[in-house]
Symmetry: C2
């Protein structure tokens, strides 16, 4: 490819709304252009890098006996009614009616389509296990797109679906896919990847893991034990937070606390540890009247995902301004007058005496509150977020919290879809059962974004050889010099004959511009051809990532490049 | 791939609604499954064949210096407002609002997105010509899906857009793309392809060609001169239909014609040639009041595309039941009382005397009507469909009419989009101009469908080697025979090591079922391994298309297959 014709411009300025490295660099280096909020066009640079990632994923899926298929982007409502997800998924799913007024939707995932394809055709144990996958554009109407290609509304994704007779067989295959994912990240050039236990979210089912690229800008909070193998998404993380504080119970007392409302103010006002306060956190239930009140130790936060699972409702933070049932800032368990309210006590409050709670009366709190004595017996539940320093549920040592970007997920779905959609397979014993399913997703653009997060420096992107849109970037200086021009052209054509993707900077611009653009775009192997080096019949090969330079004779340039590509894959 | 695990079933019965060969065979052989009207899932067989077609297209586009990019499927209304197409395209375009109530659409073509990507970045003659293309899913809400993958609502398409400084440069590139398209059809195995002049439709612009796969079930009517190079879509076809019939003018007379209303009835009633009748064809204008009345020689039909271009309105057949302005069956030019009506006279009526027309009075016609004498001077226009036997506008010999399926199109767009979207490039002389554009489309699934139309027999599909999902289909008979089992497995693995896509029928079913399925699915090279042939240390290679069989020794099988694939590409 001649750089003069490449659609895409190198920009000097940092785009104003871009905060993350991948966002800034992919825009500045001309890999993409924004079309609308969370919607991008990819230039040849962006698309070729994505196609390289897709092919790495494809090879790995095929090596797991995957069958590449293609499901529709647009699907009819009826198909999604079978699983119940047409109504259970919110406004992130695009819905429209077609010209005959039939309700349709844009697929954000394809469990229903996978079962539709396999159903009736796959009906015997002899056909299992089998896995089908696709690589396709999806649209998810995200409320907040951010971080360049990290969180967008339209994206290309590989989604795979496997079918099994037994849970054991699913688990065996789950391991196979787990390892394939690890190989994919390694091949595309991502090192800081860990896998964590995760919530199954809208997919339903049993065990699941997310692959997380560790990054301080990541939206996911991860709970990691540096001492053992425990790794979990905060959403489902557990910890040992059960700290007893059993003292002699003192008499319950209502005291004036003035304007002290939140835990920090109250503990300061009363000169006590926040651990001795009972925090009240109120949630509304989406689409229903009534509320959920959570009592938790003053130093801890409620984990909404855990709460949702517990009460099986879509809870959202309560908007206190709309209602006067609660005495905001002074809510407590005793004499709580709100109607139609579910109440939960977090495990962190168990076996702790003489606590401070709201008195359900403006400007007053209760001190020396003892749950069992003053309120009655309660069932403590785990609705707490894990904090750094909490103790690991496995080894009991201190946990750490990191941030991560989800770059893949694997789910054990169970029979949620095969059952609701009436898919049956006959076992060896002639029994008709719903097959057990797994699903496995990985986003192409988000992985490209993370590769750029990990592989860049102050001058631009350092594309890993495996996914670089062009492997070699020829920079001829002084194209008006016949020798430079003919040697550059020859190398360009020789590389093309070897089927190596090559870019040549055929622009008549200053050397400094060429160098800066080459660094910004980040092809792994740069070849500099100048009148000076040609005096010695040489050219300079420079590796983008390490900065290493190698002088080679013009005759040996091609073979040297091939050798570098062959032996030094991790450049 | 082991056939036992392949998702997709071979069906014996012809699906009830399937009429075309590709529809029947792609369903019966398990290449696809219908999800909704005009929406299919592709199995591994279908998707692999499509990917092979995509790669052939990709190679050809790259050989034309094309840059593969990716535009969004979902685009904002504002982008399409710039070209005016958001409002000019009808209900075939899917529109919806996103979660913030912004109007969005699903792209059916990407001229706007192409200009958006190139704009500002491509701004100098030094960057031109350049071409960007994508291969992507599109959705078009077709009123009538039909013919399997021939006309669907969701489809994968390659669409390319080129930018040029001069019309000459566009025309040169247009020729390059024309030849690339011819190579694509040849490579994927389509022979009966011709190119015809075509209407530019909703794309706007100047010259355009469609590539047509000749097929009696095709929806497009093609006008072909077997004597010279004239080939045109009926929509824009011309012919020499100007037949004089100049006689002495007889007195105009109104006569009773009873219930004779259409041309057949009137010419029978009056015992005259239909060529002596004036046919009236009435159209309504979409979204407007008023109508268009066309007068044309009795033996001819109005070409709506030509009429639309002429009156620059979206004409649709007039629904006579809704209105009483016209005296249906007796409409004529004289004393036509309808208000707000545009009237056109087709060239076929020129220099013809003593005609019969409606009298605009129920049960009466006028005879001996002479346009200039009785009505006045008119400007004759060409709004006639070409008929078989009409004379070629180039060589004057008789034209033929054929049917075809559009499998590709190339358009010279002019500056419609670059101008409306404000894209400018600087010429060598420093002038700022709107670049001249071309666009080039080809549908992947429709081409697969046509390949099946052309390459099949009574037993099933004969997949061309170039696009076959699997190149080799191993059919072991008696898998319980250790020798059969081990020889088959070895060949299967040896072929995989050679990166050759291979299918093995590992099912324990009757030989007849295996043969029938192999014929139906249509992989080009079948290898039969049976206890009988192994007695002589041999296996049988059979070419699906020709039926040719070759016995080879087990030791030579692999090299023979490689030789067949290498030397005999057109199998």
């Amino acid at each position: 490819m001649r750089l003069s014709k490449l659609v895409g411009e190198r920009l000097k300025d940092i785009p104003s709304d871009a905060k993350m490295k991948n966002h800034i660099l992919l825009l500045r280096a001309g890999y993409m252009k924004q079309v609308a909020n969370g919607i991008y066009s990819l230039t040849a640079l962006g698309q070729k890098a994505c196609l390289n990632i897709e092919n790495i994923i494809r090879d790995e899926m095929n090596s797991c006996e995957g069958q590449e298929v293609k499901f529709p982007v647009v699907m009819p409502k009826e198909l999604w009614d079978l699983s119940g997800r047409y109504s259970s998924i919110g406004s992130e799913m695009v819905r429209f009616v077609d010209r005959t007024n039939r309700p349709m939707l844009l697929g954000m995932t394809h469990e229903e389509a996978a079962v539709h394809l396999a159903k009736n055709w796959v009906n015997s144990y002899t056909q299992l296990p089998c896995m089908i996958y696709q690589i396709q554009t999806k649209f998810r109407d995200e409320p907040r797109s951010r971080g360049g290609l990290i969180r967008v509304r339209e994206f290309t994704m590989k989604d795979a679906y496997s079918f099994h007779i037994t849970q054991d067989d699913l688990e065996d295959y789950y391991d196979v896919m787990f390892k394939a994912y690890e190989r994919i990240y390694k091949k595309i050039g991502l090192k800081n990847v860990i896998s964590v236990k995760s919530d199954n979210g809208m997919f339903g089912g049993n065990a699941s893991h997310e692959f997380m690229y560790l990054n301080p800008m990541g939206e996911d909070e991860l709970v990691i034990c540096p001492h053992c193998s425990y790794r979990s998404n905060q959403e489902v993380a557990e910890s040992k937070i059960y700290e007893k504080k059993i003292e002699e119970m003192l008499p319950l007392e209502e005291i004036y606390t003035a304007q002290a409302k939140d835990i920090a103010e109250v503990s300061k006002f009363l000169k006590i540890d926040s651990k001795d306060c009972v925090k009240a956190v109120v949630f509304a239930i989406k689409g229903e009247t009534g509320s959920v009140v959570c009592f938790i130790r003053g130093d801890r936060e409620v984990n909404e995902t855990k709460l949702r699972k517990l009460c099986k409702k879509e809870v959202v933070p309560y908007d206190a301004t709309n209602d006067s049932e609660f005495c905001a800032g002074n809510i407590g368990p005793l004499n709580l007058k709100a109607k139609n309210t579910q109440i939960y006590f977090d495990l962190s409050l168990k076996d702790r005496n003489n606590l401070v709670t709201g008195a359900n009366r403006a400007e007053y709190h209760l001190v020396n509150f003892n749950i069992e004595r003053d309120y009655g017996n309660v069932e403590y539940v785990d609705i707490s977020k894990v904090k750094s320093g909490d103790l690991c549920p496995i080894c009991g040592k201190e946990l750490e919290i990191s941030n991560g970007i989800e770059i893949g997920n694997i789910f054990q779905l169970g029979t949620k879809y095969s059952k609701s959609m009436g898919m049956f397979v006959k076992t060896k014993d002639g029994e008709e059962i719903n097959p057990i399913m797994g699903c496995y997703g990985i986003g192409v653009g988000r992985n490209l974004a993370c590769v750029v997060e990990e592989n860049s420096d102050e001058n631009g992107i350092c594309m890993p050889l495996s996914i670089a849109p062009y492997k070699v970037h020829i920079v001829p200086l002084r194209l008006d010099d016949d020798n430079v021009s003919s040697v550059s052209s020859k190398l360009y054509h020789d590389l093309q004959l070897q089927k190596i993707e090559v870019l040549i900077d055929d622009r008549e611009v200053m050397a400094g511009v060429k160098f800066a653009d080459a660094d910004l775009m980040g092809m792994p192997i740069r070849v500099l051809i100048s009148p000076r080096s040609l005096k010695n019949n040489e050219m300079e090969i420079k590796l983008r990532k390490t900065g290493e330079t190698i002088m080679v004779s013009t005759n040996n340039a091609l073979s040297k490049i091939l050798e570098i590509m062959d032996t030094n894959k991790n450049i």
